[in-house]
């Protein structure tokens, strides 16, 4: 037993090192997955830790359907827990990858949602934010419709890569791992998705000509 057992993923997380010294300290995600192979109940703690993040990712993509897909994601993850390899991937990206796969059966729902949001965009919204943010907020609000339409128009695989990057906040290596494709393929998909998104926004695009590599 060691005081720390840090594992590495394709993109080391920025979180601080956690104290894992004592046998009774909170186990890491990876430890929970490993233990759950023989002691299934250990897996429940992963739900408590990650349900919110997974649901938010799903909810942004499919709205209310996220409630059902959250359950499906964790059931799939539980059944595949023996295949999880901590040295390849952190648990949160692994769960988001499973969620992405679960979403594949609901591409129509996802597109319909984006199109509906595109139609509904433009209606004024109420906010209680800092007035100093009002300019950016209004600019963002004006883009909601075109952006949703742009997402609806992307190829599913390109959209997966883009939204894992933007909403899942996964690194290129992590996206490659969860989609089971080479990193180069991820770069290609992201390049295409981002180019099409910019093009779809057309005149309303607020984009600066920034690099795509430094804006995770």
């Amino acid at each position: 037993m060691t005081f720390a057992a840090v594992h590495r993923s394709a993109d080391p997380p920025p979180d601080p090192l956690r104290l894992r010294a004592l046998p009774d300290a909170a186990p890491t995600d990876a430890q929970l997955v490993a233990r759950s192979v023989d002691e299934p109940a250990e897996f429940a703690a992963l739900f408590d830790r990650h349900a919110g993040a997974v649901h938010r990712y799903l909810g942004r993509r499919v709205g209310d359907l996220a409630d059902d897909l959250l359950s499906e994601t964790f059931l799939v993850a539980f059944r595949r827990r023996a295949a999880y390899r901590a040295e390849h991937l952190e648990v949160r990206p692994w769960l988001l990858g499973i969620a992405t796969n679960v979403l594949r059966g609901h591409e129509r729902s996802e597109r319909r949602r984006y199109r509906a949001l595109a139609r509904e965009a433009g209606r004024p919204e109420e906010h209680a934010d800092d007035p100093a943010d009002a300019g950016d907020r209004l600019a963002a609000q004006a883009l909601r419709g075109p952006l949703a339409a742009a997402l609806a128009g992307l190829k599913p695989r390109d959209r997966d890569a883009l939204l894992l990057l933007a909403w899942g906040q996964l690194g290129y290596g992590e996206i490659a791992a969860v989609l089971d494709v080479p990193v180069g393929t991820v770069r290609s998909r992201l390049h295409r998705a981002r180019r099409q998104t910019r093009a779809a926004l057309g005149d309303v695009s607020p984009f600066d000509p920034t690099s795509e590599e430094d804006d995770r």
């Binding site: 720390a4 009774d24 186990p27």
Partner: protein, 360 residues
């Protein structure tokens, strides 16, 4: 603004995860887990975890202490067998489950938590300060090994109540955080081991204020042979069954058939978590019962005078895996459940539930 920022700020948003949706998804997962637990040979039954912010580990001190204390007793000290047993099933009293040692005095501000299971170490008690630092006490029948822990860099010998002991100390690197999410730079850690009595090895590990030799020796010298009962007790179990697993942090006790350890009873009482980062809704009795696949209609009953439900159900994936589930809620909102093999009678299961005592 670039396109990723735009997606995050102006992209479709998600509705917050509702309590009902969270509870339903969690219940579905737990039903799957419980089915898998019932299928896992030799494993103690249900252990439903919230974020494990509490010290875990433990099992049985010596045959005369915790382990024997966990065995259903049938001798003169036993309670009268419960009248509801059938088909040869006789319910008998289960001796109080305890951690066999206490600290005298107890360090101020430290919260204890105990765990036990078959294996080595046999038992662990954790004492945690509000900032997540603290120490653990592990009981083993054999000399514990520290392995090649990279953070234990200084090794030496000392004594605990005059008994030779070995210790190790070290420092965790910068930005080390405890389970309470309090972070430290250059966090001290220490370990201490000695044979307190023949066949009773103690291993202490501490961090922070307990991350040094003298603090752990002081803890070691304050240990006394005074059992501490855990918060969840199983009052009744079938004769010939034994407590094999107990985890105070997850409020669970596993009881197995001595003749066939794959046959398990799982008892759990989960208090509502306090508001905060780990806030969790346990759901209701109805939701808990609804999370399993009922074979027969749900039956309303009472446990300890509280409304309860009992159902015969099967596993979510494997209809051949059948079990009883009874659920009830204590007055403080704690949700308790008992799982038992299908060949028990409904009265057996409810009688076992009646014997459950939760004293937070």
């Amino acid at each position: 603004m670039n396109d990723l920022t735009l997606l995050r700020q102006a992209g479709p948003d998600a509705a917050p995860l509702s309590t009902a949706a969270r509870s339903a998804a969690r219940a579905a997962l737990l039903a799957e887990i419980e089915g898998a637990s019932m299928r896992t040979p030799g494993r103690p039954a249900i252990r439903i975890g919230r974020p494990a912010a509490v010290r875990t580990g433990l099992a049985v001190l010596t045959a005369a202490a915790a382990w024997a204390g966990a065995v259903a007793i049938t001798g003169p000290g036993a309670a009268d067998p419960a009248p509801n047993g059938s088909d040869g099933l006789t319910l008998v009293a289960v001796e109080e489950i305890t951690f066999p040692l206490s600290l005298d005095p107890v360090p101020a501000g430290m919260t204890p938590s105990f765990t036990g299971a078959t294996g080595d170490p046999e038992a662990v008690a954790g004492y945690t300060a509000p900032d997540g630092t603290g120490f653990s006490i592990s009981l083993s029948p054999t000399e514990p090994a520290w392995g090649d822990d990279p953070y234990l860099t200084e090794h030496g010998t000392t004594t605990v109540t005059g008994v030779p002991a070995r210790f190790a100390t070290g420092t965790m690197p910068d930005n080390t955080c405890t389970v309470a999410n309090v972070c430290f730079d250059d966090h001290p850690v220490a370990a201490l081991a000695w044979e307190r009595a023949p066949g009773q090895w103690l291993s202490l590990r501490g961090d922070g204020a307990f991350g040094n030799r003298d603090a752990l020796v002081a803890v070691g010298e304050s240990l006394v042979d005074r059992p501490q009962p855990i918060t969840l007790q199983v009052g009744l179990a079938p004769a010939g069954w034994s407590v094999v697993d107990w985890h105070e942090s997850s409020g669970a006790v596993g009881v197995a058939d001595d003749a066939d350890p794959t046959r398990l009873i799982g008892v759990q009482c989960m208090p509502e978590a306090p508001a905060g980062a780990n806030e969790m809704d346990n759901g209701s009795v109805e939701q808990r019962i609804a999370s399993v696949t009922a074979i027969d209609p749900v039956v309303a009953t009472t446990v300890g005078g509280r409304p309860a439900q009992v159902v015969r159900a099967h596993d979510y994936m494997d209809p051949e895996q059948r079990f009883w589930l009874v659920a009830w809620e204590l007055a403080d909102g704690t949700l308790c459940t008992v799982h038992a093999p299908e060949d028990f009678t409904q009265d057996d299961v409810v009688a076992i539930a009646e014997g459950v005592v939760h004293t937070p």
